[in-house]
């Protein structure tokens, strides 16, 4: 996975709470056996009308947010199914950071394991970012090392993140390779179970 630290990008305001992973990536796209190529299916049924044409009022189709790397949404983002295809689609589409007041647990883990930075900010802070982003293209600077999010208008928020996840993201580690360093401890645990 790719290391992540500083991102500068306009934010994409998705002003909804309880966005479930069925909406992020719909089941008809889960049959692929690869990790790549899911970006075009991200929020497919919100981005498209039933006839397959673009839904003009959906935020991902708004040209002001083209090339955005930061997705902002409301509470409990990524709830429901554990499908890792959801973060794969988010990443493949081009987002590297998600900002929300809270996340579903499995989705949060899945983001970190794929080098996506999920930032938790207070409800009020997220609401302010959403409002600014909806009014006009609003550029954010995200700094993981410093744990800050700052805007072009001088707004600056800091966020908390588990130090273990922070280091994983900054260094882009392969967690499995890391765990292999504990092989002896795993073997010792297994030996104890057999007694």
């Amino acid at each position: 996975m790719k290391p992540i630290n500083k991102i500068t990008s306009v934010l994409t305001p998705l002003d909804r709470k309880n966005v479930d992973t069925d909406q992020i990536i719909s089941k008809e796209f889960l049959k692929r056996i690869e990790r790549t190529g899911f970006g075009r299916y991200l929020f497919y049924h919100w981005r498209h009308r039933p006839d397959g044409s673009e839904a003009p009022d959906f935020v991902l189709n708004d040209p002001r947010y083209a090339g955005s790397e930061v997705l902002v949404a409301q509470e409990n983002f990524g709830c429901g199914s554990s499908r890792e295809h959801a973060p794969w689609a988010i990443l493949d589409y081009g987002f590297k950071v998600v900002i929300a007041p809270s996340y579903a647990d499995i989705f949060y883990n899945n983001c970190v394991k794929n080098g996506i930075l999920p930032i938790r900010l207070a409800h009020q802070e997220v609401t302010e970012l959403l409002e600014k982003g909806k009014k006009a293209a609003f550029e954010l600077k995200v700094n993981l090392e410093e744990q800050t999010v700052s805007g072009e208008d001088g707004v600056r928020y800091s966020f908390n993140i588990d130090p273990y996840w922070k280091e994983m993201l900054l260094k882009g580690w392969d967690e499995i390779a890391l765990t292999f360093q504990y092989e002896e401890k795993i073997a010792a645990y297994e030996a104890k179970q057999l007694v």
Partner: protein, 471 residues
Amino acid sequence: MAKNIIEKIWSDHIVYAEQGKPDLLYIDLHLLHEVTSPQAFEGLRLNGRKVRRPDLCFATMDHNVPTRNRDTITDPVSKKQIQTLQQNCEEFSVPLAGINHPDQGIVHVIGPELGLTQPGKTIVCGDSHTSTHGAFGALAFGIGTSEVEHVLSTQTLWQSKPKTMEMRIEGELGFGVSAKDVILAIIAKYGVDMGTGHIIEYTGEAIRKMTMEERMTVCNMSIEAGARAGLISPDEVTVEFLRGRRHVPAEEAFEEAAAGWLALASDAGAEYDEVLTIHADEISPFVTWGTNPSMGAGIAGHVPYINDCENPEDQEALKQALAYMELEEGAPLSSIPIQHVFIGSCTNARLGDLRSASEMIKGRKVHPSVTAIVVPGSETVKRQAEAEGIDKVFLDAGFEWRETGCSMCLAMNDDAVPAGERCASTSNRNFEGRQGTGSMTHLMSPVMAAAAAVEGRLTDVRVFMNEPVLS
């Protein structure tokens, strides 16, 4: 010091702990299916890694399998996914109950059926409904595909210890109220993120009186409450369910194991980070009207009014849900017509579920405007139901009796609800498009779904239960 079951299982499984890091937790059972595993096996191949403990893995095919014409999968992408699991299991020596195997079924139905699921185990699967296995007093949770790969390689996971929550169900359940109503009422009361960052233990007399199948229904939907996992302390009901199953110890060894299981139950006076309660009086036969599982109410209720919501954000969410569901605010729930009925899924497709729905439907007919299907949770459930003549009851009433799989719960196979049509469903999620693009889902118990099939609309099953069948 008094400990709850969550703390006991957690501390029993720590391989390595260090201040400032998550714990390295040992995994006792890893269940796999065709949708969330291919990329994990591919990761092993790319890195030249092997499966550390294939003997602690068990795989099946459920999400994508057809429920009729089993041998002819027409969708080439589905077919490839199913073949890929077959090949991966062969290559890495993982036990598999494949599409034509007598043990095949929904992964969360067959784990308990085979006795693989046992109290005190840590159980994971690349599927959020892994919480089902918590009914046995196991610590069972859903993981993503990267974590599937991690468990395959190391049989461990780095996990920060979640907070603990007691969800107490007080009092005795009323007439016609089932386990599904209990969990739907809990989620409606406390919300879809009530359990985020927590493991829930369900307690109380109502839980103790439930069968293992009913307990599985409750624990299954812990994820719909946002919880990392949900579980129930083991008791004699748990022990008797497991006795004689294929993967549990036999004879004396069983008694010894059972004593250990019972000792896992939360100690009297154990504490939790949070304690919530619901009283049985608050729970009646439930249906959902919206686009997440908390958007539900007792069948005698109505769709909420926009002005019932206090803040503008909730009003907006309600408007979006009602627009999708094509419902007016204030509409009585029992006036909502349905075109489809689905009895199935890891929530409600066990023998007890099919039995109760069949008792309801016996001597009655499916409404002419309704297409109704039953999809048993496993091959074993299907065989047992057929031995009892349950299939015949459903067929006589006008239901279709299908092969097993996840089917119309998520409509990855051909079983989908068409756009603009409504389904009374015993599954677990009513998200937009869940049962088919543009489809509308109303979640409920098996008996409520059976009653809806007869009436062609959402209806109170208690009326039927009081009414003798005239035939």
